[in-house]
Symmetry: C2
């Protein structure tokens, strides 16, 4: 039986999503809770594996469980710590795969270049100099589309680094927030893009600098990865239920071809 879960977490005190021996991780607290309720081994697959310190407002996962009846919002609520909250749990529609059925992921990155709100210091990067958001927006536009993002991916990446960047916009309220959406992201890609764009906003790099690295086959040494705590996973999109299985198959095939 496959369950679909939607959950939120404060990444501050987690060593990321993926289970690691001796570390507190989101999967490492969620899977045992599910196993207690489902009375047996659970396999857990997440849509967006987040790094240490990265937050999620609407992460999606699926869990293959021996029994589903006792896995309810209320029972999970009682078993999970305050920094992980499950917002929805239901039977997954046929063909649903949290990771491979997804069509896009959307993240927000928060930067405060002026006054800082102490209550938001856990999900906001503090920046010591004023940022030029017009320059950052211009540089961001040049990155959109189907591109090879190898310059912004972890060097170890062996699979394809071609991704479709659907959206990269900046809005200023009390802080500057990037909204970044792509079909998928390679490891550290959002934070590397933000790191490059902060160098533009700072005036240290020209507007066309981030885009000039597109197509390079290796990671760019001079792109710094923006700190994890500014990043929050906002949304995972899926196709209509009748397209879930086909989409999963298509994603798997492309990944196999690519790497």
């Amino acid at each position: 039986m496959r369950l679909r879960l939607r959950l939120a977490y404060d990444g501050t005190d987690f060593s990321g999503w993926a289970e690691q021996p001796g570390r507190r991780t989101v999967a490492g607290v969620l899977r045992p809770a599910l196993e207690t309720l489902a009375r047996g081994p659970v396999r857990l697959v997440v849509a967006g594996r987040t790094d240490a310190g990265v937050h999620a407002a609407a992460q999606v996962a699926h869990a293959d469980v021996p029994q589903a009846e006792a896995v309810t919002l209320r029972s999970l609520d009682g078993l999970l710590p305050q920094d992980v909250r499950v917002h929805a749990v239901d039977l997954a529609p046929p063909g649903f795969d949290a990771r491979f059925s997804a069509t896009s992921r959307r993240y927000a990155y928060r930067v405060a270049d002026g006054l800082t709100d102490p209550l938001r210091r856990r999900d906001t990067l503090r920046w010591p100099r004023p940022l030029d958001e017009a320059a950052m927006a211009e540089a961001s536009d040049l990155l959109l589309g189907l591109r090879d993002f190898a310059a912004f991916c972890r060097r170890s990446e062996r699979r394809t680094t071609i991704r479709r960047l659907l959206r990269l916009t900046w809005t200023r309220t009390d802080v500057l927030t990037a909204t970044v959406e792509a079909d998928a992201f390679c490891h550290s890609m959002v934070r590397s893009l933000v790191g490059a764009l902060l160098a533009v906003g700072d005036g240290r790099r020209p507007v066309d600098w981030p885009a000039s690295m597109l197509g390079s086959s290796t990671r760019a040494d001079d792109v710094s990865v923006a700190a994890a705590h500014g990043l929050t996973l906002l949304e995972i999109r899926y196709p209509a239920d009748d397209r879930l299985a086909a989409r999963a198959e298509q994603t798997r095939a492309r990944r196999d071809a690519g790497g």
Copy 2:
């Protein structure tokens, strides 16, 4: 020399504003930082003394200092912990008294009666049942105006408990937020009002119950004080500079008359 300060803090790890021996308080970290920079004893007076766990987005204080030149935003930034941020510091206009010149205080109280955001758990009360915000709004309207709020004040209060409640509204976004404004508040008044209104929102008490306690001369036993961490001080208002001294005099006179 009198400085005027505007500051924000995350109240989570503070035992409130006021200095107390052996406790970490906001004044207890701010005053020594000011004394280091001003090279001598500092007297610090705050507009809204907040209780343990209560936050501030825009607290105002004045500091009487022997030397003002070295007390800058940048130098304070380096001396203060991450959970207190000074947003502005300047020479106070003549007659300015952070406490007595103020004409009103505005607070927000956040309650989540549905999905909770783990990143906002430090400034949001979690409520286990759905709240009827229409009933709460109706009950709130009945509390407005110049009233004796003794039922909502700490029993120990010896001064007048008459206050002018200027605003008490509820808005629902992802959470339910009360905005509460008055000329001044007695101790625990906002949290007692919210506690009474939550009982209405819950259906445990009728809409006219909170207002029925107005005019009582003592604290109501059956009003529970809502938890501190949902409360944030949002704004302190002052009159135009040429009215600061007169307003301070008037406030002092009224307080002396009242208790």
